[in-house]
Symmetry: C2
Subunit: 477 residues, 2 copies
């Protein structure tokens, strides 16, 4: 007898056949109806037990969370809401689950409570749905790039380069931590460390990805990146996955086109492939928002919002235009913003981005041509001498989801910039080589994968869209 | 005028159309024939320059490595070996490449020399081919699992758990390295560290993947893992990518079936999708082996070897059978092995694995049912009380490419084992929970991705199949 996944059974034409299924008990009602789930789908299969035929002691072990192997006849369902059910002939309890101690009972648990049980929370409908969507979304990322002529590059996680400048770093070492060896100058002797130098966890694979784009043309990374910043917000993780495409010969316009096309494609892919999980997550969000005041509820339901993004053009606005809008907007004039925008050059805060996206344009926005002073050294200087070819994509409810730029391909301009910022030229010898040998216009961006999952699932806290979140003071499991 | 990739142009029917192409000069012969490559394919497009129509100073800048934008008419090629070529109408040098200083000249460079230029080596035919195959292989991995009902899980890279026991770990910290804070007992006060505890880089995502398999059924990881071992061999990296599927309700036989089916599928995928790169790599290997004595050359050419693996069953042999074969084999009797096999229980060394695979069976071998004493704590104990349901897959020329097992699902047996080994039960509370609540048979394996790339490309050193290798004393770039 072939074993089937519950997803297969529910969409099959196997009626009246004998089947075997293995999974975990969601509920057991009236000593008769077992709702069984094996993770393959949000839907359970109903297994109907004729309790007179089974040992009472056995049925006592059928409780939420228990693992079962069930054989029986697949029949058209008598009840509503399911197409087929199993008339159970044989039932084996593979692993019990004591109702008095099992934390995941069939009732509503708070997301905060479940974070403490990260090893079990994926057994809930919400987290199982989130993690299936996350998985399909991750595949959509690879699929998009591979179908469009990109090559995946695994850039290094441990880096000896500290010039990326995207944030605070975690140190990686095997030196004796209590008594590190010192050199003659009394400093730590990194020559004795594993790599013979000081090393950290990467904050971005961009610089290394550029070296590959300048040979393979179109490349992308999809790997973990790290920020040792003490940010305890619902949008920050110390360890998160980032997607970084990099394309030779692309200017900033082509870069914006790529980012927009990419995001729309992966959103469409989950709309097509995760319909049931998204429907469940949409209802979850509706239920959650019922307790909120009207003003704080979403304008759109989850699936409507995803379709809106995939079907409408992102609004492209220069930083300068954005500043003009912000200077004259009501919250700025009435000093409702924490940071008042009074002149060109100001760094935009989350409150400003949210105003632009959620109140003013009411759609995803691409801001571009930022002041050079507030952006990274590698971004291409415009002819005005004061802005760079940077772009950020801002999403409703999420804020910045993409940050990218055309890279400075001119050796002399890049060298000036590095000197101005006091970056060690020696550290970047290999990055500068790209500008010495066959340099060309090129561009890329970084997209924080968890922020995309947040948007796609309608979850509110980034800790709830990655299996085992790493945040300040938290590295359990 | 639309820009085309060279791959598109070479397989197109665009003859007599005007096209634009951007790429890098491979060679420039007779002041007339530019071989241009943009990384999209191993093949160059020939661009024919009527030098009388171009400025001499411009053509002087056309040297190996220079970036060009070329417009012209696509015509059927006059020369042999290419279908189409471009009659150049317009030529722009985007970025020069000084022949006196550019390290990647059109001649044979040693792999060792190129390792020092890891930022440029992907501009050579060999490394471009290897990295394209690596990319397609990585996609084949995701494609296989996603098409077979698996969910991708991003297990944590920074781990607070040190019970994995797979090897030496790298410490991750933000504490002051020179003067770490001490607690009252004079020990380092990890409460002040970023995560409030001691943390390391993961050596395996298996234990966390198990938590997801016991909810989603079939899951896989594909991420970086780390070993702080001072192994300077051609098969070890300190940072490497690992694939770890984990499946609820699979026993060891199903686990072996999965591993074999998976490997065959991804090998077939690259045979279908990387034909030209593999052909190039096959020739490279033939050329390399010409300088070797006959006895050290491969029995099969690269593509033949890949087909052999994808078309033939892997030989499944118990550890006990393998020991019998080894005890009575000639190299053991004649003491040619460094480690003589004289009794059951011995850990197999690389020389023994190679003998079994390359001399005795001459095909991939799955060894299973190893002595419990030489395997990890989480492997399921057989009824004999002395062997565990472990399996290793050994490949010709590579050695161990997969290590896996059925996991011990019985709480009491697992607790006994943990006590016996002195592992801290408290550390594994969440792992033990899986055996308390709805436990079931489950299995999985780990496959070192770089070893698969080594096998697929015929390269000899693992440092040459990852973009920026991390090894003892080496974390450049």
């Amino acid at each position: 007898m072939k074993s089937y996944s519950i997803k297969e059974l529910l969409s099959s034409n196997l009626s009246l056949q004998e089947v075997t299924v293995k999974g975990w008990v969601k509920t057991f009602r009236s000593n008769r109806f077992i709702a069984l789930n094996d993770g393959s789908t949000i839907n359970n299969i109903q297994c109907v037990v004729n309790f007179e035929n089974f040992d009472e002691a056995l049925l006592k072990k059928v409780s939420t969370g228990a693992a079962l192997e069930i054989s029986g006849t697949l029949v058209e369902s008598q009840g509503r809401g399911q197409s087929v059910e199993i008339q159970v002939n044989k039932l084996e309890v593979l692993g019990v689950s004591d109702p008095d101690t099992y934390p995941i009972q069939p009732k509503k648990h708070s997301l905060e409570f479940l974070r403490e049980k990260a090893h079990l929370r994926v057994r809930t409908n919400t987290f199982a749905a989130v993690m299936r969507v996350r998985s399909v979304l991750s595949f959509a990322v690879h699929r998009y790039f591979q179908n469009n002529g990109f090559y995946n590059v695994h850039t290094p996680i441990i880096t000896g380069s500290d010039a990326e400048g995207a944030g605070e770093m975690f140190r990686v070492s095997t030196l004796n931590q209590k008594k590190p060896p010192l050199n003659e100058a009394g400093e730590i002797d990194f020559k004795q460390d594993f790599f013979g130098k000081e090393t950290n966890l990467t904050v971005s694979g961009q610089l290394e990805a550029e070296t590959y784009a300048m040979a393979l043309g179109k490349v992308y990374t999809f790997g973990p990146t790290f920020r040792a910043e003490n940010s305890n917000t619902s949008r920050h993780l110390a360890e998160f996955w980032m997607i970084e495409p990099e394309v030779a010969f692309n200017d900033l316009d082509a870069n914006m086109d790529l980012a927009e096309d990419f995001i729309k494609d992966v959103i469409n892919y989950i709309l097509e492939n995760c319909a049931e999980d998204l429907k469940f997550l949409e209802q979850r969000l509706l239920d959650e928002e019922k307790s909120k005041p009207q003003a704080e509820r979403s304008d759109m339901d989850l699936i409507e919002k995803l379709k809106f993004v995939s079907e409408n053009n992102f609004k492209r606005v220069s930083y300068t235009e954005a500043i003009d809008i912000l200077k004259s907007c009501t919250p700025n004039k009435k000093k409702k913003f924490k940071y008042i925008i009074d002149e060109w050059g100001a760094d935009l805060q989350s409150e400003h981005e949210r105003f632009l996206v959620e109140k003013h344009f009411k759609c995803p926005v691409i801001l571009f041509d930022y002041p050079a002073k507030i952006k990274a050294f590698y971004m291409r200087l415009n002819d005005d001498g004061k802005t760079v070819r940077a772009m950020d994509i801002l999403f409703p409810g999420i804020g910045e989801i993409v940050g990218g730029s055309q890279r400075e391909e001119r050796l002399d301009v890049l060298l000036d910039k590095i000197k101005e910022l006091g970056i060690d030229e020696e550290e970047l010898w290999w990055y500068l080589d790209l500008r010495k040998f066959g340099t060309a216009v090129h561009s890329g961006f970084g997209l924080g994968f968890e922020r995309l999952v947040l948007f796609a699932t309608g979850m509110g806290n980034i800790r709830d869209v990655i299996p085992f979140p790493r945040t300040p003071q938290n590295a359990e499991f």
